[in-house]
């Protein structure tokens, strides 16, 4: 199990959850002599078309991972069981995270061009149009992964992500603390209801405390949303012209 997540509370887990997009290519139906028939035979799309399909109108940089049956879980190329994965998870909020099925390596898969060659990368980050691409083979170190993600963030956003990341880490700790307090207050409140009933002074106090804690938690969640707001640069340019480099 990747480290960190198991000790986090439910609010933190919500913040850490990666928002994966799982696009499935649906060939456009063909209209022939006024009749609609099934779409074209499955084929690999040109790279630009494949990128446009998966990027859609999301202007964020891409993080594209291909599922793999050889990996024990399909996140092994991105996560590690030993080191801290939280930074990866937090950084991912500024990416359009796309996950493709294992058969993407079949030559007729519509998205094959995203992973070219006989020994393709396991994941890559890039601009939506494919520029600034950095390939990763799945066995990269955390530093290599974060450098690759960091380079795309620097290209794509007007503000650096470093400070928001630090703030988010602090917020996760605060959220854990408050989740714990809420759980304890809720249990205590239930016990008071069951033993003394709602007329008890302790009930009123605990009820108010629980309400207050929930408000505080909502504020922290809202703060996380605000802290996460980075402005996309207009017409962000790649770090190096064309092609992909390995991270």
């Amino acid at each position: 199990m990747p480290s960190g997540e198991n000790s986090r509370g439910p609010s933190s887990l919500l913040e850490l959850a990666m928002d994966w997009d799982h696009p499935v290519y649906v060939a456009p139906a063909v209209v022939d002599d006024g009749r609609t028939r099934a779409g074209e035979v499955r084929r690999s799309l040109p790279l630009a078309q494949a990128l446009a399909y998966i990027a859609k109108d999301d202007p964020r940089p891409l993080l594209v991972l291909r599922d793999c049956f050889r990996c024990s879980g399909t996140d092994d190329a991105l996560m590690t069981k030993k080191a801290d994965n939280e930074k990866t998870m937090l950084m991912s909020r500024w990416f359009h995270c796309v996950r493709l099925p294992p058969d993407v390596l079949e030559n007729d898969h519509p998205f094959r061009s995203l992973f070219p060659g006989e020994k393709p990368a396991h994941l890559f980050v890039s601009q939506p149009d494919g520029s600034g691409r950095v390939d990763l083979m799945g066995d990269q170190s955390r530093t290599q992964l974060w450098d690759a993600m960091g380079s795309l963030l620097a290209q794509s956003y007007a503000q650096p992500a470093q400070k928001p990341l630090q703030e988010l880490s602090r917020l996760l700790n605060k959220l854990d603390n408050i989740d714990d307090q809420i759980a304890k207050a809720q249990t205590a409140l239930d016990k008071i209801i069951e033993s003394d009933g709602p007329a008890s002074r302790k009930f009123k106090k605990l009820h108010a405390e629980l309400s207050h804690l929930r408000s505080q938690r909502n504020e922290l969640r809202n703060e996380a949303v605000l802290v996460s707001r980075l402005e996309l640069r207009e017409g962000s340019t790649p770090a190096a012209p064309g092609g992909a480099r390995e991270g």
Binding site: M1, P2, E5, N6, G9, P10, S11, L13, L14, A17, M18, W20, D21, H22, P23, V24, V26, D67, F69, C71, S72, G73, T74, D75, D76, M79, K81, R99, L100, P101, P102, D103, V104, H109, D179, I182, A183, Q186, T187, D190, I193, E194, S195, D196, G197, P198, R221
Partner: protein, 398 residues
């Protein structure tokens, strides 16, 4: 909603390899399939427009196994799991395997692990046992419903359109190991991506789907026992919503109350869907609900039945709401061998025609309120008193 969210694979296993093509337990032979109670191990139509083979292709080779039983269509890409360390889980699994072994000739008495095919067989058995229990408790029989022959979707009879408690098509259950596969399936066939456990009505087939992924269960809930309860919960919700043919959604209290009652019969430890997203699931020290409900009744602190009948947002229910709801259904089932509960189900799910007198859901809501009063013979306030008196008489203090 489960406390569980998308998280990461629980253990490193080489578990995603293709499964043996032929079921090692029946060898796919007709005599063995009949003994096991299977119509088919695939291929078959999952729903209109897609077969089991199509789904496997759509999902890029997801290692799905299939089984069609008397009352369900089941797909599973669940990985192999070791036998549980938890003693109660191990005990219940042993009993299940013993029952299964009577119908599956190839099953060893003490398997070393639960391989993917065995997981499929177990879930097929669990679903059929749940269906049988649902019918037994509520006094329902297959022969009470339309034969389905020639009825076809779209022709509404008094008891529904078809033989599956009024539904024309068999309920479908799809269990994925990974959320990614579930999301791809739902993108292609359910109108959009779904990352959480989901129920869907296949209009053309007049059948309901429940789908989820193992990956959504986290922490202490990342086990097959919790998954069993999640699946049973969704399956009962679907049986209720499809009862007498699906013309409207069942009231929240009815579908969730019955689902909760049945899963607490399986294992009360897994308090599935009692905590909203972003809250801790309740622990094992809060599993005994009878004393907790009794205490609330003693202190007259519980949601009113009048409010319960009008619940509109299942995500807004508190833990106490779930407990009290379960208790009211428990009362309705236990007080008279479920005669009242059965009648409530029948009357509440009376098919609602399109006749212009308000939207179907508005008509259904009024119907549900009326059904409650007429069947119980009580206004909600009086029902509260009757239920409370029963709780004080029937539930222990500890």
């Amino acid at each position: 909603m489960l406390c569980g969210l998308l998280t990461f694979a629980a253990a490193a296993q080489d578990s995603r390899a293709p499964r043996p093509e032929v079921d090692p337990y029946t060898q796919g032979k007709r005599k063995a399939l009949d003994k096991a109670g299977y119509v088919s191990l695939g291929p078959f139509q999952v729903a209109a427009g897609h077969s089991t083979e199509q789904v496997v292709r759509d999902l890029g080779g997801e290692p799905l196994l299939w089984a069609e039983t008397a009352h369900f269509k089941l797909g599973s890409s669940l990985d192999a799991i070791p036998l549980p360390d938890d003693p109660p889980l191990r005990k219940s699994l042993t009993a299940e395997l013993e029952r299964l072994g009577k119908r599956l000739p190839g099953l060893r008495k003490r398997p070393k692990e639960i391989d993917p095919w065995l997981r499929l067989h177990l879930y097929a058995q669990r679903l059929e046992e749940l269906y049988a229990r649902f019918c037994e408790v509520l006094g329902l029989r297959d022969e009470d419903f339309a034969s389905g022959k020639g009825a076809g979707a779209g022709s509404l009879k008094e008891v529904g359109r078809g033989p599956y408690l009024g539904m024309y098509g068999k309920p479908v259950v799809l269990l994925f190991e990974k959320t990614a596969a579930m999301s791809r399936y739902s993108t292609l066939h359910l109108g959009g991506p779904q990352d959480l456990a989901y129920r869907h009505y296949y209009v053309e087939d007049d059948s309901f789907l429940y789908t989820t992924s193992m990956e959504q269960l986290v922490g202490s809930y990342a086990n097959d026992g919790a998954l069993h309860c999640a699946v049973a919960f969704g399956a009962v919700q679907n049986l209720v919503n499809g009862f007498r043919g699906h013309t409207h959604n069942a009231p929240i209290w009815l579908e969730m109350g019955l689902a909760r009652w049945f899963i607490r019969q399986i294992d009360p430890r897994w308090q599935i869907y009692t905590s909203p997203a972003g809250e801790f699931a309740r622990g094992e020290d809060e599993v005994e609900w009878e004393p907790k409900v009794r205490a609330r009744v003693e202190h007259r602190y519980f949601p009113a039945t009048a409010d319960m009948l009008a619940w509109a947002d299942r995500n807004a229910l508190s833990f106490a709401d779930h407990m009290v709801l379960w208790s009211r259904v428990d009362y309705l089932i236990r007080r008279d061998d479920a005669r009242t509960m059965r009648e409530l189900l029948w009357e509440t799910m009376e098919p609602v025609p399109h006749d212009g007198a308000g939207t179907r859901e508005e008509v259904a809501a009024r119907q549900a309120q009326r059904a409650f009063r007429e069947v119980t013979g009580m206004e909600p306030e009086a029902f509260d008193e009757a239920w409370a008196a029963w709780v004080l008489k029937s539930y222990s203090e500890k």
